[in-house]
Symmetry: D5
Subunit: 163 residues, 10 copies
């Protein structure tokens, strides 16, 4: 189980007073140490409260992000992840671009073995957009894992009727 | 993140006045540049508001299209996709043919690495028809991807009772 | 059970060749005789394939209509109802107005004891609109029925998340 | 609990060899004695395997019947009800007429205090039809019950999308 | 909150060694004192593991019982209820009769202000049977409550397709 | 059906360039004329993209609003409603207060016969809050309607497990 | 909208350091002022993370509470409600008793016009228990409201199969 | 898109007067030309209105068929498929045998590259039977495809409780 | 299609008088000839009415069995399967052991190419147990099939909340 | 089937008096002998009543564990598993750490061929965390199985909206 010091290092979890930033800020992300690096395992974050602005019209967009990864030495702290995702609130970005950006930021932060994000957004004009982006560490078996998972992605699209 | 100019090039998104064409018109489709061509990733469009006419009886048909692709240099702009799908509204076509035509048009437009469409229509005479068509760029690994995904297609048909 | 002649009087059911009109035409509606006028009973039509055009933008709109009524002497024939609903296909109308119009047309056609329509449309700009309109024959107990049903309407809105 | 003789009087339940009639035959219906006539209570039959023929086109139709009643002295035996419903298999009838006929036959058979049937059929031409017919013994409080239940009927139509 | 002695009086809850009877035995039922008799409130037991034998064929039948009541001075102890329901396991009884019997036994046991049971059984021959029986103390307002609840019973039959 | 002029009066629907305000601004609301004032009927807006800030912590909150009303002379235009709801985006307010405020603003805007809003928010600390607020025009039968609907509100809470 | 001071009075919301008590402690409950006392409206708390111990066996029990009320002058603060519900964690109590106790504590705290709680617990021995308790201020119309809502309670038990 | 003549060749679609055969008749099946033979793609027919008779007892059986195939030169016309499936209505056959027979008939008709049928029937005696049969053209890669799909079949049986 | 004689050989199907055994008896199982042995195909039995006794406490247990197999020469007759499963009714056995026993009995009976059973039981003490056991004929490709299917088993556990 | 002695060795199942420990205690776990070690098969435990404390804030957390394994010689007894999981009740641990700890404890206890646990927790701050951890015996084919199952994990995240 985690050492007491390790818990103490987390700034955000249980912190007294949090202030929220609504402009894109990847510096909000924090990590803690993986205490089980001797095995591969998955951690998933379900994030149904993601919102951005359309970069052209300025209109708010809404989506759910499913973030899944195999950690190496570092893990992203969940409260800091929340703050980071909040920082997209008044930021303009296309859905495909936002998801790619978050993948890049989390890879830079944690250097994970593997990471993937599936974004599922609400429709505009009767059509909704769902990007899926993943990453596997270059030169490792996880690089092949990324291609395999991408190539098996979403053979069963969920039923959507905009209601 | 996308350059400002790139956003400006999109005719349809946020445009002032849109007129709608209800006869098949693939020239309505527009593209924008993929800002993350360095990786393979999927984009899916959920399109539950697709309608055509039966080519023999003239009766309206209704379906949902699930369009998924791995972009290369170009991506289809979602508002132009909406207009293109609207252009089938008073156009006659069998379900199997419409889906094949849309695949061909989107492949011609974007030259994607991979693309697939699953159409799910409402029943006539107690039977509904669901075509699934895909494409992988010839001579690339995506050609094999297309066969693999087709050959794994729909091992779990969704329950249908026409209600 | 219905007499043979009564069945013969229906033009549309099983007719050889149907042509479809996509401009609003209430003259498409036909009736047949209620063979059980000695009792009050309900008939409901589930109509998930209703589409119109937005009167201002011309953009296609999509909805499901639930039409329920207590017949008196006449009943609306279901195939003619289908053709009548198809006639809204290229016609412009706000949702609230379309539903009121259909109520008025069916009341004029059948002179039913009671009739109600609930329309449920797909969202535009993240918001969907669901009108509910009903009618009870003036001066009868069905007039009070209409008010009672309206006043009990939709105490449990169905969950909507635009997906 | 029921006497042994009462059980013995049922022809159909557990009978050795059943033959099936596929033309409308109300004489198939059998009753047994209600052993709890001192109280009002409901019995419901869920019947999802009902099929008839369209009286004009001859095409098979399919529906689910929900039959509910408050017995008086007699109760309908469920196996005989099954055989009776099977007898509509090759019989032509409109949905509204079939449900009214079944109500009339069951009322004639059992003389129940109250009885209701809700039929829910699969769509033809994109529209499905759901009749609801009920009966309360004339001159009793059940007559008012029938009107009350009819007048509260189906304030929440179930979602239907023909899939 | 309940006194310690009251808890001690319950034989079955947490008892060391339970033996199970599979022939109908209402003496298995036990009560404990209602510590909140100053108000009317409901307690519901969801019992999805009820099974009996068909009295004519001997074939096992299966159902779910929903038992709801307003207690007066006594409440039925849930473990003793479980044992009582188990006692129907190898006992023959028609569905309508079993539910009436359980209502009678629980009324005799607890003398509740109000009690109701809805049984929902699995189909035989494509038809399933769901009895609903209730009771209100004679001469009290609960007698009227029983009629009111019966007369409002099941206006929305749950969808059943035998799968 | 609505006159052409009436449609022209709507500023927001189909307007060329919309700018979005994220601070509470009831002046964004616009109306159009009810063309069917001769009858009572309901219009419901499903609004699953509502977000505010917690007034104490500043943390984003998310909810779905179900807005239902019986119009009198004026109706709220749906695009202006969207903009008004967007104006809560960076505004601080408790859930109970936001819903009461929106009720007050819409009543002031339209002077409807009846109006109600049910807000359903996502949990904080494992508990979610769902306010329901309604209004009936004072001194009319709609005042009694409001009490009746409130007093029948939510007898069947939807199942919530925070997933 | 609420005054700034009113927000400041809340101890728990956004407080720096919370300590959790796992023995029943009604003093944890806090109130804030209802800023809309001029109208009746409902507030519901969905609480799916409720757990206690069985008073006889000591085994953990789990349930979901649905708490709904019409406030008068005071409203219960949601974070303090969370802490209060946590205080049942290592406390022994039968389900019926816990719900009655919480009703009593909240009535004592807020003096609401009306309040109700529906508890839904997981099964032990194949049977689950769901108490429903409500309260209306004595001598007011809310006293009658409480009886009316109790007497209409749960006419449609949710399907339960213990999976 | 299909040539006009090809559409004209279809006898059944939109034909004036259809007569229905209720004894097994594979000659009812018709084909039309595949206009996209240059690629492999799937077409699925959802057929929830399939009924036969038990060959021993004569009792009606009911099922849903999911028919999926990769066409070669010919495709089965959907109205003729409907008539062919209707022809099982008064025909006796075990479920496993009916599905194998339909596979054989469709293979003989179309000479498809690949074809599969999953039948899902309603229960008799508490047990339901779901056969899955497939075919791949001998000596082609589709023969291996058939084995692969069979060997991956139904790793996740749908939940069944006979209700 | 099956020969008449083959149908006549089945003892149980449609037999006049069935007696039920509630102690484990594998001799109840009967077979009939597979008329399509030239191909591999799957047959699944959905069996939601399985019940046994706990071997230590004697308490009834309840589960659903999903039995799937690829027949060789013989197939298990479904009514005899029902009687065999009934024979566990008053028999004591742990869940893991019952499923292994049934697999062994069916393999011994039919000598199938492949067979698997997934049992899903209701919870005791808040935990439910779901065994999955399969078999492939030794020395054939079906032996490898068994390992492959086991090793891919249940990557997506169904959501369970004991309600 | 299991020998009588083997059943007698289980301390917890049916034991007279159980006391519950709410501090982490792996010594509570007990095993019994696998009577079918000659084949690989899966046993799954569905555990929806898991709760711990957050190690930093002390706040209760709630989750569902899906535990699946292929036994070798020993199997974990389900009542002892229940007591072991209860022992996390007042113990502090991050979700990722708890799941890894339970995997390690069960591997140490049973020396299984393969084991996996998927934890699904309720959200804090709008985000929920779902760890998935597995194990395959080193140097055996089950080690490769563990990697294969991990690498195929959760390609279809379940929809989460925190309600
Ligand atoms: Ca739908
Ligand atoms: Ca939907
Ligand atoms: Ca939805
Ligand atoms: Ca169904
Ligand atoms: Ca359906
Ligand atoms: Ca549907
Ligand atoms: Ca069902
Ligand atoms: Ca739940
Ligand atoms: Ca179920
Ligand atoms: Ca359930
Ligand atoms: Ca079911
Ligand atoms: Ca759940
Ligand atoms: Ca469940
Ligand atoms: Ca949702
Ligand atoms: Ca939920
Ligand atoms: Ca949910």
């Amino acid at each position: 189980m985690p050492e007491r010091e390790d818990i103490e290092q987390l700034d955000q979890l249980g912190s007294e007073k949090t202030s929220y930033t609504f402009e894109y800020d990847p510096s909000l992300l924090e990590t803690f140490e993986n205490t089980h690096p001797y095995r591969d395992y998955f951690v998933k974050f379900n994030c149904p409260e993601f919102t951005t602005l359309c970069p052209k019209t300025g209109q708010p967009d809404f989506g759910t992000l499913y973030i899944s990864y195999i950690p190496d030495e570092k893990m992203v702290e969940s409260k800091s992840l929340k703050l980071y995702l909040f920082s997209f609130r008044n930021h303009g970005g296309f859905h495909e671009d936002s998801i790619n950006t978050i993948v890049n930021d989390l890879v830079h932060l944690m250097n994970p073995r593997y990471l993937e994000i599936w974004g599922k957004f609400t429709p505009r004009g009767g059509i909704s957009i769902d990007p899926f982006v993943n990453y596997g560490r270059a030169g490792s078996k996880y690089e092949q894992l990324a291609e395999n998972r991408l190539f098996q992605h979403d053979l069963y699209p969920e039923p959507i009727d905009n209601r």
